[in-house]
């Protein structure tokens, strides 16, 4: 019996630059087949903002005091439709005034519509980027909602996978997931979601979103690997914490909360009042976020004074491969073929 292990990820919001390379890496790896045009299994949004799908934090799902909570079914438009463009007319056949733009008129929402809008007021506005993928929760609301048992959590790495042969497209899972990380494929009539790059992990290759991140933002590894960075950041230093722990699904993607430059008083002089309101961060990460930020600031000050800091050196990760725990293989060196498509073969 393989002992139960959990692959986890830590995403450092102080290093994320919102460039969406993770989003494109995932798109070109997985969601480029029929019916998946509008799917982004990895997204990056600017907080504060509506995020994607639009207003997902108000769409319910997850658990309260152990009890399942009803959720709203997100629409394709709320995820952001995949606009097509009138390239043929505008570039090759157009008369002078054929403007190249989305077919179907002016869009008013898109996957990254509120990029860089932020919150608060100048000069004390605030914003940070937050990447999201399926959290492969320890208590997955999607798995418990599916009447056909078509979703299962793999023993060897805790990855939550939909078996598309069993899925009838009921989408109770899409409603029940409090993070709204599940998409519906209108062509195959099945629900589809992030599979934590299981075929890559099985070959020792990091996930596309973590390996291709130019900001070196994502730590990847097993939660129980004590000398790995994830265990240290989550349990020892407690600077990596779950997003919306109150949803009670015990997500396995953790976030290092964002620091920010000082805000200003009336005359424009810097004061040491949090530019990012602490109550806003509490609403995202819970009460643990305050002490985490204090620790980050203290450790940075230690380094500035010339001292040592294991926490800072871990977050810096001077040797890039230290980010990825046991997954350090370059995909090009993997066998020329990755066998089964995970979705419909397991279980």
């Amino acid at each position: 019996m393989t002992d139960k292990r959990q692959v986890a990820m830590v995403i450092d919001l102080n290093k994320c630059i919102g460039c969406q390379t993770c989003t494109i890496a995932c798109k070109t790896q997985w969601t480029n087949r029929e019916g998946m045009e509008g799917m982004w299994w990895n997204t990056v949004s600017t907080s504060p903002g509506e995020g994607t799908p639009k207003g997902w934090e108000k769409m319910g799902g997850g658990f309260r005091k152990g009890k399942a909570q009803p959720g709203k079914l997100p629409k394709q438009g709320e995820f952001g439709t995949a606009w097509n463009f009138n390239v043929e007319e505008a570039l090759f056949q157009g008369d002078k005034h054929d403007t190249l733009g989305p077919i179907g008129g002016d869009p008013n929402w898109g996957t990254n519509w509120d990029e860089d809008i932020g919150g608060g007021e100048y000069p004390n506005s605030f914003q940070f980027y937050i990447p999201r993928i399926c959290n492969h929760c320890t208590k997955p609301a999607c798995m418990e909602a599916c009447p056909r048992g078509a979703i299962f959590k793999r023993e060897e790495d805790g990855i939550v996978v939909i078996n598309e042969d069993h899925c009838r497209g009921f989408r109770f899972c899409q409603e029940a997931c409090p993070y709204k990380e599940i998409y519906y494929n209108t062509v195959t009539g099945t629900s589809q979601k992030c599979i934590m790059c299981a075929p890559r992990l099985e070959e020792g290759v990091p996930t596309a979103c973590s390996r291709q991140c130019p900001g070196r933002v994502r730590f990847l590894g097993f939660l129980d690997d004590e000398d790995g960075p994830i265990h240290k950041l989550v349990y020892k230093y407690k600077v990596a914490m779950a997003l919306h722990p109150e949803y009670e699904t015990e997500p396995n993607v953790f976030y290092i909360p964002p620091l920010a430059p000082p805000s200003f008083d009336e005359e424009g002089n810097p004061i040491d009042e949090d530019r990012i309101p602490m109550d806003y961060l509490d609403s995202l990460f819970g009460p643990a976020v305050g002490p985490a930020i204090d620790l980050l600031k203290a450790e940075k000050a230690k380094k500035k004074a010339g001292g040592e800091s294991d926490l800072m050196d871990t977050l810096i990760a001077r040797n890039w491969l230290d980010l990825f725990g046991p997954f350090t293989t370059n995909p090009k060196d993997v066998a020329k073929t990755l066998e089964e498509r995970v979705q419909n073969r397991q279980g």
């Binding site: 399942a68 009803p70 959720g71 009838r168």
Partner: protein, 210 residues
């Protein structure tokens, strides 16, 4: 409910076939499938305050020609949903016991399974499904099942056909003998799917002419 003998069911496969006019109608009452029986807590919790399965009854007619049976089912549905894109399709199903005394509300049991033929507005082919209890539906044995539906004037008319005899774990229908029939209807525009549906409270006796 009586299944009239005819020489061939070929003329009855079209929902609007004139032949149906002279076939005896049986009304089968339907009630919302009980919330308590929904297989997962999430479904129960999210449909607690939401009305579903509001259909009161459906009218059925049935004929058989010794080799296969055709069943016409008509029910009220002001808003047809073909389930295009993200929508949920309207649907209907006709169930028969395979063997033993399957409890209709429990969708049968391992010892007493039941088989049903399902029609969905979003698909052309019908589906044969075997159920051995709630949440345990598996693809059923092929019984040459077909289903064609058409909507007009606020009503769906669907004609199911299947062979009388079925190999493997499928419900056998024998001319001249009695069996039972149960129905289910999904209203797509109310996002009804899986266990959220209108069902006949219990089996209705079904007598096949010789």
């Amino acid at each position: 409910m009586r299944v009239q003998k005819v020489n061939t069911i070929a003329e009855y496969t079209d929902p609007a076939a004139p032949g149906w006019g002279s076939v005896e109608v049986t009304e089968i009452e339907t009630i919302p499938a009980p919330l308590g029986l929904q297989p997962t807590e999430y479904i129960q919790v999210s449909w607690e305050e939401r009305p579903y399965g509001a259909l009161e009854q459906a009218s059925l007619r049935a004929v058989h020609d010794g080799t296969s049976i055709a069943i016409q089912m008509i029910w009220e549905d002001p808003q047809p949903s073909t389930g295009a894109g993200e929508g949920f399709p309207d649907g209907a199903a006709i169930a028969f016991p395979v063997h033993g005394e399957p409890e209709l509300m429990q969708m049968g049991s391992p010892e007493a399974p039941m088989q049903f033929v399902q029609w969905q507005a979003s698909k052309k082919q019908a589906r044969s499904v075997l159920a051995k209890g709630i949440g345990s539906t598996l693809p059923g044995a092929a019984v040459g099942e077909t289903a064609t539906g058409s909507w007009s004037g606020g009503r769906w008319t669907v004609v199911f056909t299947r062979s009388l005899a079925g190999e493997g774990e499928s419900a056998n229908l024998v001319p001249g003998s009695n069996t039972q029939i149960g129905i289910a209807v999904w209203n797509g525009s109310n996002e009804e799917r899986a266990g959220i549906k209108a069902v006949s409270a219990d089996w209705t006796a079904l007598a096949l002419d010789r």
